[in-house]
């Protein structure tokens, strides 16, 4: 049996920190450290080299975006360490700020995922493998926002294609999508081809690159145009 994954947790709210610890430990993983500031997290990561980090965004001293900055720093210095960011913000802008350097090994989850430990653990495993996860609710928000534009290519997608797209944006592999939708993988691949053509995106082989492309597409939809 492989060694249980070693996880570091950064969360300044005591109850939430303990909740995450329980969810992770109940899943069979080991929590090697649970800190409350980004500075402490950086020190722990340097010292202990965990397999993955689960971190909040708002932490002392400024309670702004310390978690995102820490995640990006960890990814840059230690590409083998996955980071799961637990966020209170449902706003896609925060997810995009996390993924601005790339999506590999990064996950953006809403904090309430703590209530569904299975999803948290799945995300941890995904980023350890170098994949990406975007919380389904956040993806749903992104899709919903983009759909309102009259000239959005999304309007050309069928409902089924929307489902597939949402799962792609969430970071699922083709197999995971096929399982989820109870379809064959080849059907999924067909759908994907159609989707990417309609959206004008290149089909990326890597899951995380695909996620990046789709996220970039959504972000572009919501961005301000130059004057």
């Amino acid at each position: 049996m492989p060694e249980p994954l070693r996880i570091a947790i950064a969360e300044d709210h005591y109850l939430v920190r303990e909740g995450v610890r329980h969810a992770v430990e109940n899943g069979g993983l080991t929590v090697i450290a649970a800190v409350s500031t980004a500075v402490e997290l950086a020190q722990v990561v340097e010292r202990e080299r965990p397999d993955a980090v689960v971190t909040d965004i708002r932490m002392p001293p400024h309670h702004r975006t310390e978690g995102v900055d820490a995640a990006l720093a960890i990814r840059a210095a230690h590409p083998e360490i996955g980071v799961v960011v637990l966020s209170q913000h449902n706003d896609p802008a925060y997810a995009m700020s996390l993924f601005r350097e790339g999506t590999r090994g990064l996950a953006y989850l809403l904090k309430e995922r703590v209530g569904r430990p299975a999803q948290l653990l799945a995300a941890i495993r995904e980023v350890v493998d170098g994949g990406s996860v975007v919380d389904a609710d956040v993806v749903a928000t992104m899709v919903a926002h983009s759909r309102r534009n009259a000239d959005s290519p999304l309007l050309a997608l069928t409902d089924r294609e929307h489902e597939v797209l949402a799962l792609v944006a969430g970071g699922a592999s083709n197999r995971a999508i096929a399982e989820r939708l109870h379809l064959s993988q080849s059907s999924i691949e067909k759908y994907l081809g159609s989707i990417f053509t309609k959206l004008g995106l290149a089909d990326e082989p890597d899951v995380h690159r695909r996620v990046a492309a789709v996220l970039a597409f959504f972000d572009d939809q919501r961005r301000a145009r130059p004057i």
């Binding site: 400024h62 209530g115 301000a224 130059p226």
Partner: protein, 673 residues
């Protein structure tokens, strides 16, 4: 103008006639005619003509009657000359008729004078005087007739040294002796006392302005009265007094003539009363004062010379004279003041105006006060200060102004100071300078008043805005409280109740857990929305552009956002970003609630140091509420204006609503860890 030209013609005619007559008269005098003849003719023609002209065209009956009376009086004097001649030549019949003519004329002159005095000086007649004059006139003429036709000898005045010669006109059955005739003739002139009587009654029953005009007339008439009484009493011994009175009488008519003529030429420019006052009585008073002064000095000198040597006496006289000089000046000033009233002093007028300016902030009150200050200060007939925007008229002029000064404020012509003629004298350079100073003061006053009004309006608006802000804050708090109370609190209570079920049912049902989880998640979302409504974290963390993009993305109808590229990373002051965010939020809400729009376009741009935000929709437009007061934009407007920005709501080119906000936006350094 027409009247003026006619006046001018009459004046020219009268002066020309007078001159021609004088020259002709002198020529005749050289040929042996009596010297008083040219004087008579000149006075007759020019004076009477002038008087009639004035009566006709100016309707100034007082002066007109005086002038006519003077002219006729001159005729009487001329007739006296002929009478003298006739007496010398021994032609008693002619002399008698001439005497009758002259006496009748002189009675007529007196009556004319009384008529003039009755309405002197302003045309208001003294009451009850008409019957008095009729009675007097009838009595006097009867007396003249009595004397003429009833005197035994030629009826001559006591001062005419002629031996009694039989009266050729003696037709009445009885005869009146010389002595009696003289008494009657003396008493004939008693009604002349009516003249000072009229004046005294007028003086007593009038106000100070009329009294001032009467003063100069009183001394001569008093003198006349005194002289007549003295005549009656002293007769042969009253020589010195009579000489003095005759001196007055000699100067009096020519001055009247000159004044009347000048008055006809330009009645507005020249008030004959003034000339008479100045010329005649002032001179007399000065002579009196000088005489007193000289007399006093010489008396002392003469007295002193009895005890001192001549040089010392002269020195003493000079010293005394020098000491008297200030007294003379004081007496002169007193006389001047008494005659002419206090002379207007421009410096006093300006000082008074300064006080007025400091106390008045209402143009409607200030402008008339300025006009009055000028009128009183410089002795101008009328002044009107008019400012084009807020015209506060003084006495409306019925003629063109003599002097106009524009009121200039910051290079703009805002009004005029219009002045009529001066009451006395002509416009001097000093007067003009004073009026121009006043005009500048008027400009300052106008600026002051406008500034005060603007400040007051601004202060009122500021106060109202502050009140609105406070109310908006309170309203916002209540809204939040309501949301928390009715929404989130209720949900949590429901979930607690759900948990309570677990007490009774220890075995936890998966569905119950799911319900709990979902319920709590919902509460979490609600609180998230609440927090976003108060102050969205994306605004703090990502800046204005990110927050606006989030707003746009969440909006039910499609919203396009356009922005300057550098706004992606630009951060501004908290209050600015907050105001900008909420103006967009409010405008978007309106596009949904009121405007029935289908598309919205938001533009964020930098314009120098200002941040411009524009929200345009394709809905039904702002309607009759351009300020957006009824649409919740009022609160945001107050916030924006408190930050020195501006907010406008207008109709879009395509028919919808366009909300524009402009904020002073200096970038700030975003504090990082």
């Amino acid at each position: 103008m027409e009247a003026r030209r006619v006046h001018g013609l009459w004046a020219e005619a009268s002066v020309a006639t007078g001159l021609v007559a004088t020259v002709a008269g002198f020529a005749l005098a050289l040929a042996g005619w009596p010297v008083s003849l040219p004087w008579l003719v000149a006075s007759l023609c020019s004076v009477v003509i002038a008087g009639i002209a004035r009566l006709r065209y100016r309707g100034d009956r007082v002066i007109s009657w005086i002038v006519i009376g003077t002219g006729l009086g001159a005729v009487g004097t001329g007739i006296d000359v002929f009478t003298d001649q006739a007496l010398q030549l021994g032609v008693e019949a002619s002399a008698a008729w001439l005497l009758l003519a002259r006496r009748s004329l002189t009675v007529g002159v007196l009556l004319l004078m009384l008529v003039a005095l009755r309405i002197y000086p302003d045309g208001r007649p003294l009451p009850y005087t008409v019957p008095v004059l009729w009675a007097t006139g009838s009595l006097m003429y009867a007396t003249v007739a009595l004397v003429t036709f009833g005197a035994e000898n030629l009826p001559l005045e006591w001062f005419v040294q002629v031996s009694g010669e039989p009266n050729p006109l003696h037709v009445l059955p009885f005869a009146i002796g010389d002595r009696t005739v003289q008494v009657i003739l003396g008493a004939l002139w008693l009604p002349a006392l009516l003249a000072p009587a009229f004046l005294i009654v007028r003086y007593v029953t009038s106000g100070p302005r009329i009294r001032r005009r009467l003063r100069w007339l009183l001394p001569p008439f008093a003198l006349i009265g005194v002289v007549l009484v003295v005549n009656l009493v002293l007769r042969e011994n009253a020589g010195a007094v009579t000489v003095a009175v005759y001196a007055v009488f000699v100067f009096y008519p020519p001055l009247l003539t000159a004044a009347a003529i000048l008055g006809v030429i330009d009645p507005r420019r020249f008030d004959p009363d003034r000339l008479l006052r100045r010329g005649l009585v002032a001179a007399v008073l000065w002579i009196v004062i000088a005489a007193v002064f000289v007399g006093a000095a010489s008396i002392i000198g003469v007295t002193a010379s009895e005890y001192l040597t001549v040089p010392w006496a002269v020195l003493l006289a000079v010293v005394v004279a020098t000491l008297f000089a200030p007294t003379q000046r004081v007496l002169g000033r007193v006389a001047d003041r008494w005659l002419f009233g206090a002379r207007p002093d421009p410096a006093v007028a300006i000082a008074r105006l300064g006080r007025t300016l400091a106390e008045t902030f209402d143009l409607g009150t200030l402008l008339p006060r300025m006009a009055t200050a000028l009128e009183e200060g410089l002795g101008i007939a009328w002044v009107r200060v008019s400012i084009t925007d807020d015209d506060a008229p003084g006495r409306a002029p019925d003629e063109a102004p003599v002097f106009v000064v524009p009121v200039v404020l910051d290079g703009a012509h805002v009004g005029d100071v219009l002045c009529g003629p001066k009451r006395a004298g002509a416009w001097s350079a000093e007067d003009r300078a004073v009026v121009m100073t006043f005009a500048q003061q008027a400009a300052l006053a106008v600026a002051n008043v406008r500034l005060t009004q603007r400040l007051a309006a601004q202060a009122a608006e500021l106060s109202a805005s502050r009140t609105r802000l406070v109310h908006a804050q309170e309203g916002e708090r209540r809204r939040i409280e309501r949301n928390i109370h009715d929404g989130v609190q209720q949900d949590l209570v429901a979930l607690i109740a759900l948990v309570g079920q677990f007490d009774t049912e220890p075995a936890v049902q998966p569905t119950a857990m799911d319900l709990l989880r979902d319920g709590l998640t919902r509460v979490l979302d609600d609180i998230r929305d609440l927090a976003t409504g108060i102050h969205p974290s994306v605004l703090t963390d990502q800046g204005l552009l990110g927050a606006v993009e989030a707003l746009a993305a969440r909006h039910p109808i499609p919203v396009t956002v356009r922005a300057d590229a550098d706004l992606r990373t630009a951060r501004f002051d908290e209050a600015i970003e907050g105001a900008g965010y909420f103006i967009v939020a409010e405008a978007l809400a309106n596009s949904l609630k009121h405007a029935e729009a289908h598309r919205v376009e938001i533009t964020l741009s930098r314009n120098g140091a200002r941040l411009e935000i524009a929200i345009a929709d394709d809905g039904i437009g702002p309607g009759g509420d351009p300020l957006g007061i009824g649409r919740g934009l009022a609160g945001v407007r107050d916030r924006i204006e408190a930050l020195g920005g501006s907010l406008t709501v207008a109709r879009n080119g395509g028919g919808g609503t366009l909300v524009r906000a402009s904020l002073d936006a200096r970038e700030v350094e975003f504090e990082d860890a």
